[in-house]
Symmetry: C2
Subunit: 280 residues, 2 copies
Amino acid sequence: MKPEILRSVAGLRERVAAWRRDGLSVGMVPTMGALHAGHLALVAAAQEQNDRVIVTLFVNPAQFGPSEDLASYPRAEASDREKLATLGVDVLFAPPGSEIYPPGFDTKIVVGGPAAGLETDFRPHFFSGVATVVAKLLLAGPPDRAYFGEKDFQQLLVVKQLARDLNIPTEIVGCPTVREPDGLALSSRNAYLSTEERMRAPVLYATLQETARGLRSSGSPSAVLEAARRRIADAGFAIDYLDLRLADNLAPVGEITEIPMRLLVAARLGRTRLIDNIAV
Amino acid sequence: MKPEILRSVAGLRERVAAWRRDGLSVGMVPTMGALHAGHLALVAAAQEQNDRVIVTLFVNPAQFGPSEDLASYPRAEASDREKLATLGVDVLFAPPGSEIYPPGFDTKIVVGGPAAGLETDFRPHFFSGVATVVAKLLLAGPPDRAYFGEKDFQQLLVVKQLARDLNIPTEIVGCPTVREPDGLALSSRNAYLSTEERMRAPVLYATLQETARGLRSSGSPSAVLEAARRRIADAGFAIDYLDLRLADNLAPVGEITEIPMRLLVAARLGRTRLIDNIAV
């Protein structure tokens, strides 16, 4: 019965090798579980482009800081499994911690480029933790393609740089953010929001949309960005950052030109940290 | 005519994929060129255990410190090619620098464990440079097996840890050090030695042998090691380190027991830095 549950790298490698011998292409969707419609859209994209699909489920301790929400991060393997069964996913790779970080494990991957600034200013261990575990998960296949959501836009660019820089033989595919009807980007962390916070949360995306429009028409990006920060703060958020960057590599923007840019925000509402972003 | 010369990752990947489709196993021997009998022994081991063999030739800037010998490191691609032709090596992968470190490249791999101390105390960038380029070369295949000499014993353990920690699907095989008749370990850097230095160089290995015997019979390892350092210094070397470590992970040795240990030395003779090691 699908999905087949695998818990060891050796088992996953054997399964992928068998698929390869049969000439089948393989897609992978790395997740930390607590699957929502955003994850399921990644799965759908993977199924469309590949003969076989692996979803990985691993809450990666290395990408949480000491004061972050590792212990409380939502875990729901049984219901995740049911969702993947409904979609007909072939394999769920859900290794125990000791399979990813066995005794003596002591290697980390540090990506520069798009990892500079933004999330890194607030979560200094984050991208090294992500890069190391993503490299491990990809190399345990490796799949032909792996799918990441644009909701974590900086992470998507970091993973693309990782794969390119290390010759990892997997194409990294970014997929559009899936949103609630009121605009809130889907995130496993939305479960932390109180009813009252949930009602205020959509202001984040509404402000991004308004700001993107304002940036296209205004000659003074810094004033438009300042107004956006004010609106979000007025709604009760504590802002980590709201910034405009080059979409290709997240380098700071000199002056508004025709090249693609990205507006990115991270802000805390109560104990919940939300991130979002939009093309400009 | 063999070896086929490949200069791009894409070309190498295609060649390896074609071999795999034919059910052939693949060995890789990563080198910085200026091939000597030590390299050729690695090639012979690779040929014995695999259907096809790739030798890589890349003088890796990332593993040289700013004051080290990158510019003067011996380069001899034409004669390397002839040697590999004689042995019937299938592919020589000799990429230009821009293929390994293209514009925008910005990722490094940091291995802990056996990388701590010894070489790292004197060449702090060395193992990160080695780990990053070895990961790239392996992942450009990947081969079933890759071959490294025990002459660089700490490097061999670092590469093993790298492959294990990142799930790189390549078995790392260590091969015994090849020596001149007078005991000097073969190294491309031996070419730097003057005639007079070359005559004194064998004292390094002679001292390692004598010290290994002394350690087996003596109750005072620190006195035996101190005598060894004195003998090498008396021969005109400037010692970087001479130390006894656990053979498995290069952790410091508490007391002499039955577990395998390794005696490692690095010392400079004039402008030439030599390293060697021996099982204890």
